[in-house]
Amino acid sequence: MPPRPRRPRPLSVVGTSPPRLEGAAKVAGTARYVDDLEFPGLLLGRTIRSTVPRGELLGWSMGRRPRGLHVVSAADIPGRNAIALLEPDQPCLVRREIRHAAEPVLLLAHEDRDALASVAVELRERPRKAQLDVRASRSFCKEILIEKGNLSRGFARADRIVEGEYTTGHQEQLYVETQGVIAVPEKDGVTIYGSLQCPYYVQKALVELLSLPPERVRIIQVETGGGFGGKEEYPSMIAGHAALLALKSGRPVKLVYDRSEDMLATTKRHPSIVRHKTGVRRDGSLTAMQIDVLLDAGAYVTLSPVVLSRGVLHAAGPYRCEDVQILGRAAMTNTPPNGAFRGFGAPQTQFAVEVHMERIAEALGIDPLELRRRNALRPGDTTATGQRLGADCSALPCLESAVRRSRFVARRRAIEKHNAKARVSGGPLRGIGLALFFHGSGFTGAGEVKLASRAALELTPTGARILVASTEIGQGTRTILSQIVAEELGWPLSRIEVADPDTREVPDSGPTVASRTCMIVGEILRRCAQSLKRALGRMTPRQYLAKNGPLVVTEQYDRPKSMHWDDVHYRGDAYGAYGYGCDVIELEIDPVTAEVRPAEVTAVQDIGRAIHPVLAAGQIEGGTAQGIAFALAEEVVMRDGRMANAQLTNYAVPTPLDTPPMQVEILEFPYGHGPFGAKGVGEMPIDGPSPAVVNALRHAGLDIRDIPAVPERIAGLVDSMRGAAT
C-alpha cells in the first residue's frame, strides 16, 4: 500500500531531541521506583518454590513460625487459580501438579526481613520424569503453517539446494531493576504499584484470580527500571502473589525479587531450532524456501503462540521468493516458561535465515553481498504471507547505506589480507559480517483490531494531558507521545502533560510491547490532537474550559482500510508496516583466549520517522548491544530444568569493556498510517547483530551455527582450524 501523501509541512517538535520528560528526576536520583516507595505497616513478601522440574506436591511443613507471619497457599485463592493471559493453564500457586523448577508454591509475609528469611519450609514433592529435551517433546501449544506458491515447483527450478540447521539459546532480559510490586489492600479491593509494562494485563489477571470486578483492581505503573519484554507477562504473577498476601494480611505487601530469584523464576527468550532447505539458481536467486521453526515454550503457554507467530512471520527474512513454506511449532518442556523478550521470536528466526544466506553464497561461490542485493525485498514485492510492500520498503537502501558507511568491501579485502598473515604468525584473526533484516511494527493485522486500543487527551487550562496506558520503561514513551501531540496541536512541548498509567485514570491503549507504542498509540493520539484542535477552534484552552467545561477526547484504533489479514491461513497484511535494517560488524578473535572482541559496529535502520532522534538512536544502540551479547556471551546454563548460573557473576551481560563504539544511521521511509510517518523502533535493533557477528566469525574461518558462541565453543574451532592450517 503506497504511503498516503502528506502535505509536506515543516515540523517543529517532531524530529527534535528535547530532554526526556523524566530525565532530570532520573539523573538526580529522585525518580521513585517500586522499591523506593513506603507505606505504613508494610510487610515484605517471600515466595517458596518447587525444587523439582516435574512432580506432585504432597504437602509442606514449616519450622518455627515467627509471630506475625502470614502464609498463603493455593487454597487461599478466592477466584480461579490461573494467570489469565492466552490460556488459563498456568497456576498462580501450585495446587498439586508441579511442571517446572522454581514454580511458586507458598507465599510468606512478615514485617521483618530477617524473621522472614529465617522461616524454614520443607516441601514434600514426588518427582516424576521430566521432559527437558525440546526435540523429543511431542506436546505443542501452537502450530502455524505459512504457504506461498508451490514448494515443489520452486525446488524443481533450483540449480542447487542448500540445507542447514541453526540454534539459539535462552536469553535473560536482565533489566537492571528486578521484578517488584507493592499490593495495598483497599476497602473493597486492591491497588498494585508495580514495575511493569502492561497495566491492563495485570488487571485482567487479578480480576480472575481475586474474583473482583475490574474497577476494584487498580493497577498503577511506577517508574520502571527496564523491561525488554520481561515485564510484559510476569508482573501478573508477582502482582497476584502480592495481592493474595495483602488481602490475607490486611496490610500492604512488597514483593521485590533478588537477582537470583528473578533469573531462576521469570521468563526468558525462547530457545530455537530452525531448519532451512533452500532452492537457488546459479545466479543466486531464491526459488524455494522451506523453513521449519521449533521454539521451546517451557512448562506453560504464556505468550508462546504469539512469539511463534512473530517468529514465523520473519523467518524468511527480508527476501523475495515465490515458493515458500514455513512450519512453526512451539513445544512444551518442563523448564520455566519462556516469554516476551525484545524481538519476540524474530531475532531467532532471522539469525537462522541470515547465517543461512551466508552459507548459500558460499555454496554458490558468489559474494554474499551480491546474493542479498539480488534477493532483497523491493517495493511491490510480496512477503511470505503475500503482503504487497509499499514504497516504504527500504531493504536495499539500508543495505547500500550500511555497506558504504562501514566501507564493507574495502574492509573485507583488507581483513582477508590480514588473516592470511595471521594464520601463519598465530596473531589475532579478524572478520567482517553483515546482516539484513526487517521487523513488523505493532500486533499482527487481526491483533490490533482485536485490541481496539484507545487513547485520550484531556484539555487543561494551559494545554493538554495525555491519557494512555502505554508505559515509560526507558524507551521514551512520555517524551515521544508528547512530541506527537504538541506537533499536531502546533503547541510547544511544555504545554503537554502525561498522566501516570493508572487503570483508574487512563483508557486501555493496549500493552507496551511489539514496537507499537509510537506507531499505533502515537497515531491514535495524533488523531485525538486533531479532534481537540477542531473542538477548540479559535479558543484558548482556558476560554474553552470556562465556556464549555471539561473536555476529554478519546479515539480508538482505526484499521487502515487497505489492510487485510487472515488469521486462519496466515495470509495477507501481517503488519501495518515494516522497519528495515542492516548491521555490519567487524571483530577480532584472540587466538589464545578465544575471546571475540567486536571492534566496529555499523547499524543502519529505517524507522519511518525519528520522532526524537536521540531517543531513537538510544534504542538502536541498546538493542544492538543486547544482540551482540546474545550471539557471543549470554549463556543460560540449564541443569535438570533449572538455571544453573542464575547470578550476575556468571551470566555475562555486556559491560562497557565488551561494548564497541557504534555508528548509527537512521533512514526515514515514512509509513502513511504512522504519526508523521513513524514506524516502530524498539525491537528491530536486536534482530541483526547476532547473524552479523556469526557471519563475521564465518568470514574469519569459523563455522558457527549455534549461539551463544561462548569462548569455550570458539576455542575448539580455532584449535581445529589451526590444526588444519599446519
Binding site: 523524566e22 537477582r259 547470578q647
Partner: protein, 153 residues
Amino acid sequence: MKLRINGTTFRVEAHPLERLLDVLRIQCKLTGTKEGCGEGECGACTVLLDGEPVNACLVPVAHAEGRSITTIEGLGGTEGSHPLQRSFVEQGAAQCGFCTPGMLISASVIPAGARREEIRCALAGNLCRCTGYSAVYRAVELARAKRARRRAR
C-alpha cells in the same frame, strides 16, 4: 553510629555488618542509590567513600563510619545540576534510569581529558542494559569538554 553523607551527619542504629546500601536506603531514606544484584556485579549501588567509588552492597556500614560518603543525592542536588547530570539527559545516557545514579557516581571521578578507553575502564563496573553505553560515553566526554572549556576561559 554516625555517618557523614553528602556533608550532613546522620545518626543511625545498625549492626556493624549491615550493608551500607540498606542503611542508606532504609534508615537515611536516600533511595537514589539502587540495588541491581546485591553481589558487587552491577554497580547500581555505587557511592563514593572518601572520594573512591565502592559498591555499597558489599560494604559493611561499620566500614563507612567516620569517612565521607557521597551518594547521587549529593552530586547535584534535587535539581540534578551537576554538568554530568545535564549531559546525561541531553545525550540520552539515562533511559530507564536505574543504573544512572551509580553510573554518574563512577563518572564523577573520571579526570578531565580522559580518553574513550579510560572512560570505558572507569565505568567497567557499571552495567547498563538500556543504552549500550555509547550515549554514556558521549555524555561523559561532553561534560568533561564543557568543564575544560570553562576552565580555559
